[in-house]
């Protein structure tokens, strides 16, 4: 495979053709933040937390969907990028109802730890406090759209890993929501196999096993890439 040479944060690095910037950056030990990206799933480029600056391109680029190219000069942590990332997380917190103190995933949440990582000790925007009813109709799982960041990791997992495509996104912008089948209560879904993979892919407390209380959600997002890797080796 042809090798490429890029400059990342002033350092010369090499990569294989076909890799994304995110793969090259993380492969070189730089901990670039992501939220909608989950290893093994098709990249979505939705959350924009992974954005980097590429010399010659005016707008920041989402590293998870940008192919590495020969000679690229990439900056991963400029003051501008840090400011944007902080803004994105603050807007996510303001957009729904994040009450970490009573949340099933308190202490293990990707959104919560990103906020701390970016030094967010308060949110400068007004909270929208939308009224979003919880779906507790499924026998084993619950969904609280008030904690959803619309990353669509669950949608891609259900489609690409489980093959059920029970979940999808409906609506536009901040009013988007995860919908189940043709907007049914989860408990009435005819396609859901109750596999629980969506719950494991979810970075927040939006999807959870029922009967879990504050901080009790057990997270194993690495399950998804592990299942896919297992298939690679066993289904050929």
């Amino acid at each position: 495979m042809p090798a490429l040479t890029l400059t990342i944060d002033g350092r010369l690095v090499s990569s294989r053709a076909g890799e994304t910037l995110l793969q090259v950056i993380r492969g070189n030990g730089i901990d670039l933040p992501t939220l909608c990206y989950l290893e093994g799933l098709s990249p979505r480029g939705g959350c924009r937390l992974c954005m980097v600056e590429v010399a010659g391109r005016e707008k920041p680029q989402a590293a998870c969907v940008t192919p590495a190219e020969e000679g690229m000069v990439v900056t991963t942590g400029s003051e501008r990028l840090q400011r944007y990332r902080r803004q994105i997380v603050e807007l996510l917190l303001a957009e729904r109802n994040h009450t970490c103190s009573v949340c099933v995933v308190n202490g293990q949440c990707e959104l919560q730890s990103l906020a701390a990582r970016f030094g967010i000790d308060h949110v400068r925007y007004a909270y929208l406090s939308p009224r979003l009813p919880l779906d507790a109709s499924h026998q084993r799982f619950g969904m609280d759209p008030g904690r959803c960041v619309l990353c669509a990791r669950c949608v891609r997992t259900c489609d690409e890993v489980e093959g059920a495509h029970t979940l999808d996104l409906r609506g536009r912008g901040v009013r988007s929501c995860i919908s189940i089948d043709l907007n049914e209560p989860w408990g009435r879904s005819e396609t859901c196999t109750t596999c629980g993979k969506c719950v494991q892919s979810c970075p927040t407390g939006a999807l959870f096993e029922k009967w879990t209380a504050r901080g009790e959600k057990v997270r194993a997002p690495e399950l998804i890439p592990r299942i896919l890797a297992w298939r690679e080796t066993h289904e050929r």
């Binding site: 109802n97 919560q112 000790d121 909270y127 406090s129």
Partner: protein, 176 residues
């Protein structure tokens, strides 16, 4: 002697719409309380017998969201009489638990909780939504957590007493 000028910090604490857990966390700073007692005068607090919010306060720690008109009045008064305001805990910073009512209808909640026995004149009027403190007054410092761990409070107060700018490390910043 009364009215004597000292170099001790004049500190107040305020309890708005919160559960008093943040105040408990302050008390949980153990032996640090002794150091604190040497360095500050607690001039107004639910923990002290001083009913009026005095003027010339150096630092006020405020627990709780701004949920009622009474909260709002007290927050404004505290701001106007204090040099530095600290949002202590998630309720003051985000609205947190009291703000769980924000997506719901205020009148319906009052009816649900107080039923027919509700006497509006006995309760401070609820604001339409529970607001973070920094949405109604300028806030200088934030100590997140529900409740904030004593270590976080100690870190901030230690810096202030030494006259340094407090900076909580990343691992002391999480909400929840």
């Amino acid at each position: 002697m009364k009215g004597e000028r000292t170099n001790r910090l004049r500190v107040a604490t305020l309890w708005l719409s919160g559960c008093s857990g943040c105040h408990m966390s302050l008390l949980d700073t153990d032996e640090f309380l002794l150091k604190l007692a040497e360095a500050i005068d607690l001039v107004h607090s639910p923990l002290a017998d001083a009913p009026k919010f005095p003027s010339g306060v150096d630092l006020v720690l405020i627990e709780g969201g701004v949920g009622t008109e009474h909260d709002l009045e007290r927050a404004l008064l505290a701001r106007s009489r204090s040099r530095q305001v600290v949002s202590l805990g998630d309720c003051a910073i985000t609205g947190n638990v009291p703000a769980l009512r924000n997506p719901l209808d205020r009148e319906a909640i009052i009816r649900e909780v107080y039923g027919v026995a509700w006497q509006p004149e006995r309760l401070p009027a609820l604001l339409p939504a529970v607001l973070p403190l920094h949405r109604v007054i300028a806030v200088d410092l934030f100590i997140p957590g529900c409740p904030p761990e004593p270590e976080r409070i100690r870190t901030v107060l230690t810096a202030i007493i030494r006259g340094e700018a407090p900076q909580l490390p990343q691992e002391m910043l999480s909400f929840g």
